[in-house]
């Protein structure tokens, strides 16, 4: 049995590979859960089915939007860079800094009450994330440093900054010395309110949908998207087509940083409510999985973000109701990416059975 390169990438497998990956994850995950002494069918149903269709689903469905919104927003931003061969691994850091900057601008104006505060915070959040992403981007363009390492290291710097802000500059003066800022979600001028009460649909989810639409148009209809794809597939050809590689790095890192900052801002003003030491929960890293699970395609990312949010919510239920360890849920999410990358081979290669050759 040998692997043979296809003359054209298979259109069928582009769609089938993620589905097969999900099925394989369920099967192997089921075996894992069985080994942990749980009924695999029950666990899989709890994770993948209950949040959507059980009688308590009314409670879980908004949760899916709340978890999925930032994931999609982050992953859409990352997908541009990943397509162009620019590896921003530090979206988590940009997410944190976006939240800090947005919150700081808001808190500086506390307790004013004008409608301008929230938009101003949104802008500051995007700028904060953008600026944090510009550090690895500029270092790469100017000095040829590796953006993977720099952006990743800056996540830890951002985490320290977050801790310092929660304990120092942004600490709630009326918080009786507890770490953490004022609660932004309870301050109407700064709150990221639900657009439809009880739906989980907040501004960040709306922003994620808008980002999906813009990304789709940019990638399929605009020269910029074409140049992004070209840069990733054939960098020399991209130069020949008129792409400036340095500019491409700055733009792609900038987009992912700004969207990560936005995601952070919407989180801190909504579901999280305040700047606290444990504000970030790893969305920036999970978004990498979402981006690849969605084939770096905007619509794919939307679906993948939903699926990943489902495993978060469903995993939470499984944890509380079935006593499943949290590591098992993370393992399940990791498996999803692992299987996706593994079956991905079939998009560009096919198996041929029969006598192989020595080569």
């Amino acid at each position: 049995m040998i692997l043979e390169k296809r003359p054209q990438p298979s259109q069928r497998w582009v769609f089938a590979a993620p589905l097969l990956a999900v099925v394989l994850t369920m099967v192997v995950g089921g075996i894992l859960f069985a080994a942990l002494g749980k009924n695999p069918v029950t666990v899989i149903r709890t994770i993948f089915y209950d949040p959507l269709f059980s009688e308590n689903a009314w409670f879980y469905r908004p949760e899916i939007l709340i978890k999925g919104g930032p994931l999609v927003l982050l992953a859409i931003g990352l997908s541009f860079g990943f397509r162009a061969g620019i590896w921003n691994i530090g979206a988590e850091g940009q997410y944190i800094v976006g939240a800090i900057c947005g919150a700081a601008v808001g808190l500086a104006l506390y307790p004013a009450e004008t409608r301008l505060i929230f938009p101003l915070m949104v802008l500051a959040g995007a700028l904060g994330g953008w600026a944090w992403a510009m550090i690895p981007a500029v270092l790469r363009v100017r000095f040829g440093t590796n953006e993977i390492l720099v952006s990743l290291m800056l996540v830890y710097v951002a985490e320290q900054l977050l801790a310092s802000m929660a304990l120092g500059a942004l600490r709630n003066p009326e918080g009786m010395g507890f770490p953490g800022s004022r609660n932004l979600s309870q301050w109407p001028a700064a709150a990221n309110k639900e657009l439809i009460a009880g739906s989980g649909m907040h501004w960040g989810v709306l922003a994620a949908f808008i980002a999906v639409i813009f990304a789709y148009i940019a990638l399929s209809r605009h020269q910029f998207g074409f140049h992004v794809r070209l840069s990733g597939q054939a960098p020399r050809a991209a130069r020949f087509a008129g792409v400036n590689p340095g500019q491409m790095i700055l733009i792609c890192m900038g987009i992912s940083g700004a969207l990560a900052g936005l995601a952070g801002l919407f989180e801190v003003t909504g579901p999280a409510g305040q700047i606290s030491i444990d504000f970030n929960v790893g969305y920036g890293f999970t978004a990498i999985i979402v981006a690849f699970l969605g084939r770096l395609h905007p619509v794919g990312i939307l679906l993948a973000g939903g699926l990943m949010a489902l495993t978060y919510v469903g995993g939470g239920i499984a944890q509380s109701q079935l006593g499943l360890p949290v590591a098992a849920i993370q393992l399940l999410q990791g498996m999803l990416l692992f299987f996706l990358l593994a079956v991905d081979v079939l998009t560009n290669y096919r198996f041929r059975f029969g006598q192989g050759e020595t080569a």
Binding site: P7, Q8, H222, Q223, A237, G242, R352, T358
Partner: protein
């Protein structure tokens, strides 16, 4: 013992969708230089890989020295006395000659002993080469000598050479041929793969011609005309490009002391290149690969920026303009490397058409792509240049080399350039596609454009050029009318003699 070294009988090898070799049989005599002729895709590579143990045939047998020969891997083939010099060198630029040779050996001797052996072999066969030099600094001809000496150290019975002269100056070719003749006189057989027929007539005493995987004939090249061999190869009467007489036009492109540092460690700096190109002429630029061809194309296309005032297009300074700005002014280019530079392999032909055609063909408006126009432009190129493909939605990598080259050249020509710079327009392209491409260049010139044709194929340059100059170590020689130039004069322009001196002094 008979005087047959290697007897091939009924070799067949099929790949999905194509039979690469179909019942191929011929014999290579002891101490014979045997030519293997054929167009690209005729099955030469597969056959050679079979002999070298890289490919296992579906059926058929080989007998070497009277004993069955079925190498499972190159190691076994080498042990049986088969050595091969590949068309593409597998050398590490940063290592010395001796180190590179040691890397290919199973039990390399001590470095000093090896260097001494390299010197001995290089003296014995008239291949000047200093074992201590770094490969990155060597010319293509010298690199080939490294590969040849690597083979000779194995003391081969059969030496396979794949297109050995494509990177050599005429003088270097002479040296190589003397070496090969000396090897023959010592009883070594040589399987010589080439499509340069005059060389084969000068060197070989037997030839086997392959077409579409089958042996279509054999001949004694010393007694067969090049034209007859070419027609056997192609299976049809060859069309020779025609050059129309035309008046000289105005100066469209002027290079004024164009200089630029090497873009990377093993690149070549451009040094003080000054030349004018007129509308309606083909300027042929010859030279051995790695003498600044890529850099010159990049400086003209705009991929490499140069200082102001060095590149003037119709009197306007374009040295600082980006690729697309130059395109919109009528300066177009087609780089040498098709896959990954001139075309994106995994993208469709429509997308590849969009790659360079966006500005001039109006395939975008305000940044938004007009896919319908891109698609019809791709279809026009496919139609106009006889690109064999089911349609524009196929990826570039699904095309054969010749077809993709026709597409890449056609894509630029269909944009009606004023100045068209092309590097190695027919490299690795079969004879009929090559003729079509050359004809297209001449047609473009007849319409009043200027063409700069950079190539290592001197026959090609003589066929299309009005003026000829040579690029050597980043310097451009004075142009001379192509008509009436002799091979010796061209060789001197290419700096072949200069190269030999260097080798003598240091070797």
């Amino acid at each position: 013992m008979s005087d047959v070294l290697l007897d091939l009988a009924g070799l067949t090898k099929a790949y999905p969708g194509v039979v690469a070799n179909n019942d191929v049989s011929f014999q290579i005599g002891r101490g014979e230089i045997h030519a293997l002729l054929g167009e690209n895709g005729a099955g030469k590579s597969t056959l050679v890989k079979t002999i070298y143990g890289l490919v296992k045939p579906d059926s058929g047998t080989m007998v070497m020295n009277g004993a069955g020969f079925a190498p499972a891997e190159p190691k076994a083939a080498r042990a049986a006395g088969v050595a091969m010099v590949f068309q593409h060198f597998s050398l590490f630029d940063a290592l010395s000659v001796a180190e590179n040779i040691a890397l290919g050996m199973e039990n390399p001797p001590k470095m000093q002993a090896l260097a001494a052996r390299v010197r001995a072999v290089s003296d014995q066969y008239g291949l000047p080469l200093d074992p201590d030099r770094v490969v990155g600094d060597l010319s293509a001809g010298e690199r080939q000598r490294v590969e040849i000496i690597r083979c000779l150290l194995q003391d081969p019975k059969l030496l396979i050479m794949d297109e050995p002269t494509s990177v050599l100056t005429p003088q270097e070719v002479t040296i190589l041929f003397e070496t090969l003749r000396k090897l023959r006189s010592e009883g070594t057989s040589i399987l010589y793969i080439s499509h340069k027929l005059e060389e084969i007539r000068a060197l070989c005493e037997a030839a086997t011609i392959l077409r579409l995987g089958e042996v279509v004939g054999s001949c004694d090249p010393r007694e067969t005309s090049a034209r007859d061999m070419a027609e056997m190869m192609v299976g049809q009467v060859l069309h020779v490009p025609e050059k129309a007489e035309k008046p000289q036009g105005d100066v469209v492109l002027e290079l004024k002391s164009l200089s630029a540092p090497a873009p990377h460690q093993f690149g070549t700096a451009l040094k003080d290149i000054s030349i004018t190109v007129r509308a309606g002429e083909v300027l042929g630029i010859g030279g051995v690969a790695g003498n600044g061809q890529d850099e010159l194309v990049a400086a003209l296309s705009g991929e490499m920026k140069v200082r102001p005032g060095m590149v003037m297009l119709r009197g306007a300074d374009v040295g600082l303009l980006a690729v697309n700005a130059r395109r919109s002014m009528g300066l177009l280019a087609a780089p040498e490397e098709r896959m990954g530079h001139a075309a994106a392999p995994d993208m469709t032909l429509t997308e590849n058409a969009l790659m360079t055609g966006a500005t001039r063909k109006g395939l975008e408006s305000k940044g938004f792509i007009r896919w319908d126009r891109a698609k019809s432009f791709a279809a026009e190129v496919i139609e106009g240049f006889d690109v064999r493909t089911p349609g524009a939605e196929n990826t570039a990598r699904s095309l054969s080399g010749g077809n993709l080259q026709k597409f890449v050249i056609g894509r630029e020509i269909m944009q009606d350039p004023d100045v068209f710079v092309v590097n190695q327009p027919t490299w690795g392209v079969d004879a009929s596609a090559a003729a079509a491409i050359r004809q297209a260049l001449l047609d473009l010139v007849a319409k009043g454009a200027a063409v700069i044709c950079i190539s290592q194929d001197l026959d090609e340059l003589m066929e299309v050029s009005d003026r000829f100059c040579a690029l050597n170590e980043g310097r451009l020689s004075q142009p001379r009318p192509a008509k009436g130039l002799t091979v010796e004069e061209i060789g001197l322009m290419l700096g072949g003699a200069h190269d030999m001196e260097v080798a003598h002094v240091e070797g």
